[in-house]
């Protein structure tokens, strides 16, 4: 991506982060220990690059390469955009153990930084209100909750309808009970085959043994 355009796209994110840091002493204190550190994020699909540089009391996001910024990055993270986004949004400790992400350099720093970021309990509306005003922020909050509910409901309905259509109307897919029955039958068959194989092997060994005895006695 064009570096100038990349830089433009990062402006809102950088301003938001720096606003958070300026107004949240707890957050600033937690990020202070990363001061001076830099991490490069390389996205493969789509191809883009972000350099995150933590400074005293603020962060800088840049689309320029680390060497253009005279930085020797402490760590680099490479992966698809979705996987990289997952680093920030997934909760828990698993996302770094992701095969779609490649980390070079100080992996502990990456682990530490993302644990810190994910551990933050951010109320985005609180941070947006100075920019948008109380009324607009409240409306935005309501709209966001409604959109989330609608999206969850729509996803559930869609899933249910597609399920019914494929199973009942087209009969392309079996229902869950049939699948379970079929799976049980398969398990049963596999067990019987195992037993049969064991029995065959036993008979084979007996046959081998008797042939050997016959050979010795003759």
């Amino acid at each position: 991506m064009n570096q100038f355009l990349g830089s433009l796209l990062l402006i809102p994110a950088e301003q938001m982060l720096n606003h958070l840091l300026a107004n949240d002493d707890y957050l600033a204190a937690r990020l202070r220990r990363f001061s001076g550190k830099s991490i490069c994020l390389h996205s493969r699909k789509p191809t883009s690059r972000i350099t995150l540089h933590v400074l005293e009391g603020r962060v800088r996001l840049s689309s320029l390469d680390a060497d253009q910024l005279d930085l020797l990055p402490d760590a680099s993270i490479t992966g698809d955009a979705g996987a990289l986004l997952g680093l920030l949004t997934d909760s828990g400790s698993k996302p770094l153990a992701n095969t779609a992400i490649e980390i070079t350099g100080d992996a502990l720093l990456v682990q530490d930084l993302f644990t810190t970021v994910r551990g933050l309990d951010l109320d985005w509306l609180d941070y947006l209100s100075p920019f948008l005003g109380e009324i607009l922020t409240h409306e935005l909050g309501q709209a966001s909750v409604q959109a989330r509910q609608w999206s969850a409901q729509a996803r559930e309905n869609l899933g249910r309808n597609v399920d019914a259509y494929l199973k009942e109307e087209l009969q392309l897919l079996p229902d869950r009970e049939r699948m379970r029955h079929f799976s049980n039958q398969l398990d049963h068959l596999r067990l019987r085959l195992d037993r049969l194989r064991a029995r065959t092997e036993l008979l084979q060994s007996r046959l081998d043994k008797s042939l050997k005895n016959q050979h010795l006695s003759s």
């Binding site: 570096q3 100038f4 830089s7 433009l8 402006i11 400074l55 253009q68 005279d70 930085l71």
Partner: protein, 256 residues
């Protein structure tokens, strides 16, 4: 071998050929005339995009707290204010310009913003900078080189006062790389004198601006000029398809 121009030599002032000694005075007049409304006109002419370009240029300066930076032809102090945040209280910004009217506007802005702690102001000629060798970590000349009479001398002077390994940034209007955009930009820039007349009451200054942009060296020529002046690892970044270009060059380290 000296490149010093003789007294009877001429140079460009927009499309005009004027004696070298006259250009400085006439450019001075232009900026004295527009100084008070300079920032408003920048917003009008660039439709606000100059702010984004300046931000990107500051990003390319890769400044660190504690560093010393020269904002050459800094005029109304737009860059100095941004640099001051980057270098912090332990660093220093020198806002320098040849034009006292522009500097006065810049000085007032800096005082109004309360950022006097790490910004010094100096009236200087870019062709012979009055600073010791190896003084600055970074020098930025934004939309200024075009107006300098002897650009090569200015680049040499910048190279001299830059610390070894320090970076010079030249932000200037340049040659659009896309023909269609170039034509649209040509048409649009013909409106600048009209806007200049309406906002600053001075169309001629903005006519000069349009003409001086046309006369300014293209990306590759400026790159070669920087290399000739002694900069190394020179590169340029086209911004908005070459309407502007940011040239970067470094002063070589002594052992290189």
């Amino acid at each position: 071998m000296s490149n010093t121009p003789g007294k009877n030599d001429t140079t460009h002032f927009g499309y005009e050929e004027v004696p070298i000694a006259e250009k400085e005075q006439r450019v001075g007049q232009v900026f004295r005339s527009v100084a008070q409304r300079y920032d408003i006109m920048n917003d009008v002419m660039s439709l606000g995009t100059h702010r984004l370009i300046k931000r990107f240029t500051v990003e390319m300066s890769a400044l660190r707290p504690g560093q010393k930076v020269l904002d050459l032809a800094g005029g109304t102090g737009d860059f100095s204010l941004r640099f001051a945040t980057e270098v912090g209280d332990s660093g220093q910004v020198v806002l320098a310009d040849i034009n006292e009217a522009m500097l006065r506007v810049g000085r007032d802005r800096i005082i109004d913003k309360g950022l006097t702690k790490n910004i010094a102001i100096a009236q200087v000629n870019a062709e012979c900078l009055p600073f010791p060798d190896d003084t600055f970590d970074c020098i930025c000349i934004a939309y200024g080189l075009r107006n300098v009479t002897d650009k090569d001398a200015a680049l040499r002077s910048m190279q001299r006062v830059l610390k070894p390994g320090g970076r010079a940034l030249v932000l200037e209007f340049s040659k659009p790389t896309n023909d269609l955009l170039g034509k649209a930009y040509d048409v649009y820039s013909q409106l600048w004198p009209v806007a200049g007349k309406l906002i600053t009451g001075d169309a001629d200054s903005y006519r000069y601006l349009v003409e001086s942009i046309r006369m300014h060296p293209d990306q590759q020529t400026l790159l070669e000029m920087m290399e000739t002046a002694g900069f190394e690892k020179c590169k340029y970044h086209n911004v908005m398809s070459g309407i502007c270009a940011i040239h970067v060059g470094f002063k070589p380290q002594p052992n290189e």
